[in-house]
């Protein structure tokens, strides 16, 4: 099924960048969580999630992203999002994800901001 969300990641020092491609529902969210925990477990202290290739994140997907955020916060790490469509940005704000994680327009800005803080 081509709608399934694909997740890829790359490590840049202390920071791991994750890219999503496609619909983030429960499976997509779990895919992201798996990759995020793998990165944290192997020493990443900050995560940047670039969602520019995702147009829909449903509320189940967001609830999983919130769990990831809590885990990151427990470890005193950082989580930043970038590449959000206006609708995804709006939904992140409604659910309060924007209060606890930072949101940047571009990957560059997100990387700069978290690199300065880890």
């Amino acid at each position: 099924m081509s709608d399934a969300c694909k997740v890829s990641a790359q490590r840049r020092g202390d920071v791991a960048v994750l890219w999503t491609d496609g619909y983030i529902n429960n499976q997509g969210g779990e895919e992201i969580a798996r990759e995020a925990y793998k990165q944290l477990d192997s020493g990443a202290r900050a995560l940047v999630m670039n969602l520019e290739k995702t147009r829909i994140v449903n509320s189940i997907g967001i609830s999983i992203l919130i769990e990831v955020l809590e885990r990151v916060m427990d470890r005193k790490g950082l989580l930043a999002f970038c590449g959000l469509t206006p609708t995804i940005d709006k939904t992140f704000r409604i659910m309060g994800l924007a209060q606890y994680a930072s949101i940047y327009p571009t990957e560059e800005e997100a990387l700069q901001a978290v690199s300065a803080r880890v």
Binding site: N25, I56, S59, S63, I66, T91
Partner: protein
Amino acid sequence: MAHRKTAPLTPRHAGSRDISLTIPVAPEMEIVATAQAAALGEYLGMSRDKIDEVRLALVEACINAFEHAQTRDERLHLTFRMGREDEGADWLEIEVLDQGKGFDHLRIEPPTPEQTFQGKRKRGWGLQIIRSLMDSVQISSGDWGTRIVMRKYK
């Protein structure tokens, strides 16, 4: 069930310009449904961002029915209507009807970000998202099932 009503099991007013779509209760079918919403939004000339808002609201309404409704027919009945206000504003209306167990939507407490972050329960945002993204939302529910009618202006 708090709201017992005579069961209006056919779409409200099946006008000849309506588009009806019936999908099975199955994973990812909500995304198939959004293709219809997107095509109609484009037909009306809605912006891509507004179309995304409609699509997400529709996704939430569908997954609610998939997750909670326990539909008797294992199907979800969608009706798409387009119209224009007197002042000229075009709208797209989507009705999502399930023949499930229904629920008392007036007794659903709206969640807060604080509860979501402190507590164990991260869910419960679907209806809230639908209300935030659409311009008007009507819910009726009973033991005949649940109907959500939501409208977005172009």
